[in-house]
């Protein structure tokens, strides 16, 4: 192959014939006694091209290449040497015995040499060594960490950073050098001389000081488990602000400060003024980092967030899309927790709806949806209508999904939204777009009862001219479910009849099924007779499926009384529970007995709808850019966690006699900080007479294992009596479960108490050389947070379509007044109370308006099956601090209403 100009006609000619076979053969040239740097570098380029376009060398080839390349150390050409180091880094991941090259590399890391490849040598060195060799290079790194040359200091610091996981003890000894690297005005402040500056640039630029960023990151890694030392360091850096000058270092400083602010009130109050100061200087990167971190602080006042909102508002009109994106994304996040603060930015955000960057436009819309009120929703809808014709189908789908979530949030705005959705159904658009619109209307029908009549009518109009059979089938299914309950069901029969006359077989089949539901569910004899006549005619349809369905339907209608108990049943097995029961049945191979479907818990359709509504509302709070993957991921993650805890619970035979689990915690509760040595999460399982507390313990330390781990859990009252503890035999690596079982005291229907918890275990250290735990261990204990057993543990959210009627009919009532001094808005009060009680908000009452008084309706089901409702009336406290609420509970027994009312305390 020649490299003359003639071969440059095609873009690919340079590497057209490069593959693993040719480079392996060519690499034998490395063994030649007369090395050509020019040819060798060309060959290394081919190897690099293969690596960086996805060709993975196998271990044998990589090893052969690696040691061939090491022959190039005989040649001293700097450009060749630098490139050799890069390829060595890449191949060392796969090749074997790479440690043999250590001594050659170490020569190039020596101090006093101002060669261009010294930083490359340092960065390559830590790729070829293992944990046992770290002491041999300790001096190289400690010298490099405080080197005045920027590239050398950064190379050493980043190398130490990479080494930390496998050499914690050794790297931690370099604490003083690393701190020098952070605070010194000499480390990393010099730029090595280079011909590039004289021949190309014309001047020598100043060092960027970025080694400070690497040093600070490493220092945090070394000290992060020592909160006192960390606190002191941050105080030092903040009080001597000349110290931190690099923007990247500032970003990390802000993150470290923020991670401590939620844990320490005094530290937080100290730091807020500094964070405010950094909002206005030091450039976009730092300003935006401050904004995002402050927005995420839990215990920060609205006043302290005002400067953040002001800065973000300015950035919304930045010419840089990364800045606009960051600002709108942060405001979007703030809008989920404090929408009232974002409201003042709405005019600026509205101008982003037409941003050329679609991600920014999408965030603008979803932010406005979160911060809007009844008045602004109308203006937003008008704007959306205006640009709808200008955007692509993909983006239209995002808008429709946003409208869908908006409907759930503002049920009173259903008319304008339904008009919008109906109009776009008539517009041009692809299948996915139309389906999204139909999904949105379907949700309105299900969750906003007042919209049902009109929404069904709009869907009927649409299927008259629908070009997508699958969508027509979907709509017919909706009509079958909801049509019979409408005030005038006969209106819909005509549309369904038209489908039978005009559409293809798939749609006709769906129409037959829908019509059958009208026949079975309608009380009107005339309707029943009309439906039967139509279905009888379908017995002669040309399609097998249509005829079969019609035959079944006619038979069902003729013997309506026999079929009704089957088709009208409101009880549906819980699908996850059904799946679990079936898996157990098959694995235990007890085929002598039939599967007992009665043992599977059943849910009413209303309960299923309530759960789906809760999930839908939760997903509206997730980032909107990828709606479908987010929903899938959430559902998957949620079910994975639930399955993980339940599988562990079912493996304990002691609990079999307790009967079925009546309720488990909706999500694990954390009893430790996330970055501690032992991470403990807990799930509470309520049985008829027992409470089982499942502690999941994760030992994050790789150098020790725990044996016979138990939790000593002490109730604060006599309402719970401990029965047994199931320990974890070995805790190492993967999380394991520890169970504590309590029996209910007979005199109390609902045991409410606080559990004080201490982890006790035997600690054994892992021998570094053998990887085995030592024979001798020692007893130790570890305090974890208290755990409340409260009202919400005995209540599940339950959907109720007729709150007012049921509320009046329930005979037992209790009420109580509370002042919630820590809450400052109706919105936070709504979510807090609903979460405490584990009850379902109804009729959109969890979204307060601007009125001075608000009422939230809640519905729930106790573990014993009783229904319970609550009215929560709230007003701002007269003394200006917090929210005053009055809870009125109605239920089927005194104990149920007292549980609810007492659950707020």
């Amino acid at each position: 192959m020649s490299y003359s100009k003639k071969d440059d006609d095609g873009d690919e000619s340079i590497f057209a014939n490069v593959n693993q076979v040719t480079v392996t053969q060519d690499a034998r040239a490395f063994n030649s006694s007369s090395i050509s740097p020019r040819k060798s570098r060309r060959l290394l380029s081919k190897i690099a091209y293969l690596i960086y376009t996805g060709e993975h060398f196998q271990e044998k080839q990589a090893t052969e290449l690696f040691f061939g390349i090491t022959k190039l150390f005989q040649h001293k050409d700097p450009s060749l040497r630098q490139f050799v180091y890069i390829i060595i880094k890449e191949l060392s991941v796969v090749a074997e015995d790479v440690i043999m090259i250590t001594s050659s590399i170490m020569k190039d890391t020596a101090t006093g040499r101002e060669t261009i490849y010294r930083p490359n040598a340092i960065r390559s060195l830590i790729r070829v060594i293992d944990a046992n060799t770290v002491p041999a290079i300790e001096r190289i790194l400690t010298t490099g960490i405080v080197d005045p040359i920027s590239a050398v200091a950064s190379a050493a610091l980043v190398s130490a950073y990479h080494l930390y996981p496998v050499a914690k003890d050794i790297v931690s000894r370099w604490n003083n050098e690393v701190q020098d690297a952070v605070t010194s005005h000499n480390v990393g402040r010099k730029v090595a001389s280079s011909p590039f500056f004289t021949s190309t640039l014309g001047y020598t630029p100043n060092a960027s000081g970025i080694s400070q960023y690497h040093a600070l990151g490493l220092l945090y890694r070394i000290r992060r488990h020592d909160s006192i030392a960390m606190n002191k360091l941050l105080q030092l850096l903040v009080s001597n602000l000349g110290t931190v000058s690099n923007s990247h270092a500032f970003v990390m400083l802000i993150r470290y400060i923020s991670s401590l602010m939620d844990q320490n009130t005094q530290f937080r109050d100290q730091m807020v003024p500094f964070l405010h100061g950094w909002l206005k200087s030091k450039g976009d990167m730092v300003n935006l980092e401050v904004a995002r971190n402050m927005v995420r602080l839990k215990n920060i006042s609205d006043d302290d967030l005002q400067p953040v909102v002001s800065v973000l508002k300015i950035f919304l009109s930045s010419h840089r899309s990364a800045t606009r994106f960051s600002a709108i994304r942060t405001l979007n996040e703030l809008a989920m927790t404090r929408p009232h603060l974002v409201h003042s930015c709405n005019l600026n955000i509205e101008s982003l709806i037409t941003d050329v960057n679609r991600s920014i436009a999408t965030y603008a819309i979803t932010t406005l949806l979160k911060t809007g009120n009844d008045e602004s929703v109308d203006r937003l809808m008008k704007q959306i209508v205006t640009f709808m014709s200008d955007i692509s189908d993909n983006f239209k789908i995002i808008v429709v999904d946003a409208i869908r979530s908006l409907c759930l949030k503002f049920p009173r705005k259903q008319d304008s939204m339904l008009t919008f959705l109906s109009n776009i159904l008539c517009d041009e658009g692809g299948y996915e777009f139309k389906r999204a619109a139909v999904d949105a209307i379907s949700d309105m029908i299900k969750y906003i009862p007042e919209s049902k009549e009109r929404a069904l009518a709009e869907l009927c109009e649409f299927i008259e001219d629908c070009e997508y059979p699958k969508i027509a089938v979907r709509i017919l299914s909706i009509l079958g479910e909801e049509g019979p309950k409408a005030s005038e069901p006969t209106r819909f029969i005509r549309y369904i009849y038209n489908r039978i006359m005009l559409e293809n077989a798939i749609v006709r089949s769906a129409a037959v099924s829908a019509l059958t539901k009208f026949g079975l569910n309608a009380e009107d004899k005339f309707v029943q007779r009309s439906v039967k006549v139509i279905l009888t005619r379908c017995l002669e349809d040309a399609d097998d499926e249509v005829r079969d369905r019609a035959a079944f339907s006619v038979k069902a209608l003729e013997d309506r009384d026999a079929f009704l108990p089957v088709v009208k049943s409101d009880k549906i097995p819980s699908l996850p529970a059904l799946e679990r029961s079936l898996v157990i049945y098959i694995s235990e191979r007890k085929f002598g007995q039939g599967f007992d479907i009665k043992s599977v818990p059943v849910l009413s359709q209303e309960e299923i709808d309530a759960e789906n509504l809760r999930i839908k509302k939760a997903t509206t709070e997730v980032e909107f850019t990828e709606v479908t993957p987010a929903e899938d991921q959430n559902a998957l993650a949620s079910s994975n966690i639930e399955t993980e805890f339940l599988n562990a619970l079912e493996s304990v035979s002691e609990f079999n006699e307790y009967g079925p689990v009546l309720k488990s915690s909706p999500s694990p509760i954390e009893l430790t900080e996330q970055e501690t040595e032992f991470v403990v999460k807990v799930v509470k399982h309520v049985f008829k007479d027992h409470l089982v507390v499942q502690f999941q313990l994760h030992n994050t330390l790789s150098e020790v294992i725990l044996e016979n781990a138990v939790v000593v859990s002490t109730p604060s009252t006599d309402d719970l009596v401990e029965e047994c503890v199931v320990p974890a035999a070995i805790v190492s690596g993967e999380p394991v479960s520890i169970f504590v079982s309590f029996k209910f005291n007979d005199s109390v229907p609902y045991p409410l108490t606080t559990l004080t918890n201490t982890l006790q275990f035997t600690t054994k250290e892992i021998d570094i050389h053998t990887g085995e735990p030592e024979e001798e261990g020692y007893e130790d204990e570890y305090k974890i947070d208290d755990l409340d057993v409260s009202a919400g543990d005995f209540i599940s959210p339950a959907y109720e379509s007729n709150f007012d009627g049921l509320f009046d009919s329930l005979e037992h009532e209790a009420s109580e007044v509370y002042v919630l001094s820590l809450l400052d808005s109706f919105r936070s009060t709504c979510s807090r109370v609903a979460e405490l009680l584990q009850m379902q908000p109804l009729e959109g009452t969890e979204n307060p308006t601007d009125k001075p008084v608000h009422v939230m309706k809640l519905s729930g089901k106790l573990v014993n099956g009783e229904k319970v409702l609550a009215l929560v009336k709230m007003a701002h406290s007269k003394d200006g601090e917090g929210i005053t609420i009055k809870v009125i509970a109605r239920g089927e027994s005194d104990s149920s209403v007292e549980l609810v009312v007492g659950g707020i305390a």
């Binding site: 740097p37 996805g54 050409d77 490139f83 950064s154 996981p165 590039f196 990390m252 990828e626 991921q633």
Partner: protein, 190 residues
């Protein structure tokens, strides 16, 4: 919140048909087997790239979230540069890192880095990226400082032979002498 220095998940260069020119997915070294990678296989990587390319080619979506990741993008003639980071990474930090690579390449090549230029100078491209990102850690974002650390391969055997000698001083002296002679010729002061 990302409290580590591992800010960059991947650096990608694709051509105008979505084909790979340079792709590097980062993971911290010294992790246990199978830990830390962004994707498990080249196939998954290419699927990600294909979807990303379809979303961004010939659009102005230069910053977006895709597949649970934050992506910044620059289009230069017939190639696209991407940096992929975690969802929570600082957008401006990633964007400045991406821009510094593009600018360093422009300084080196004295021309916009189109596909042909990148392939012809692949060795310099590799060094630029290596001097900017070290297994996910941002090493430098000043383009001139990055470019200054990039060596160019020897252009002739003669130059290589000279470097065989231990005396780099000789090379420097020779260079200076040649420069002075040239200067005098131009001034006509011989």
């Amino acid at each position: 919140m990302n409290l580590t220095l591992y800010a960059v998940n991947a650096f990608l260069i694709l051509d105008s048909s979505g084909k790979r020119i340079f792709t590097k997915y980062y993971a911290p070294p010294h992790l246990k087997e199978g830990e830390g990678g962004v994707f498990n296989s080249v196939k998954e990587e290419k699927t990600f790239e294909k979807g990303l390319f379809e979303k961004t080619w010939k659009t102005q979506n230069d910053i977006l979230t895709y597949d649970g990741k934050l992506v910044v993008m620059l289009t230069v003639m017939d190639v696209i540069f991407y940096i992929v980071g975690g969802m929570e990474e600082n957008e401006v930090m990633l964007y400045e890192c991406l821009r510094s690579i593009r600018d360093a390449l422009e300084l080196l090549f004295k021309y916009v880095p189109d596909k042909r230029t990148l392939l012809e100078n692949y060795d310099q491209l590799v060094i630029v990226v290596d001097e900017t990102i070290d297994d996910g850690v941002i090493l430098e974002t000043e383009p001139a400082l990055i470019a200054a650390r990039v060596t160019k391969g020897p252009v002739s055997e003669a130059q290589a032979i000279v470097s065989d000698f231990k005396e780099m001083g000789f090379m420097n002296s020779f260079q200076k002498a040649r420069e002075k002679i040239t200067e005098r010729i131009l001034k006509g002061t011989f």
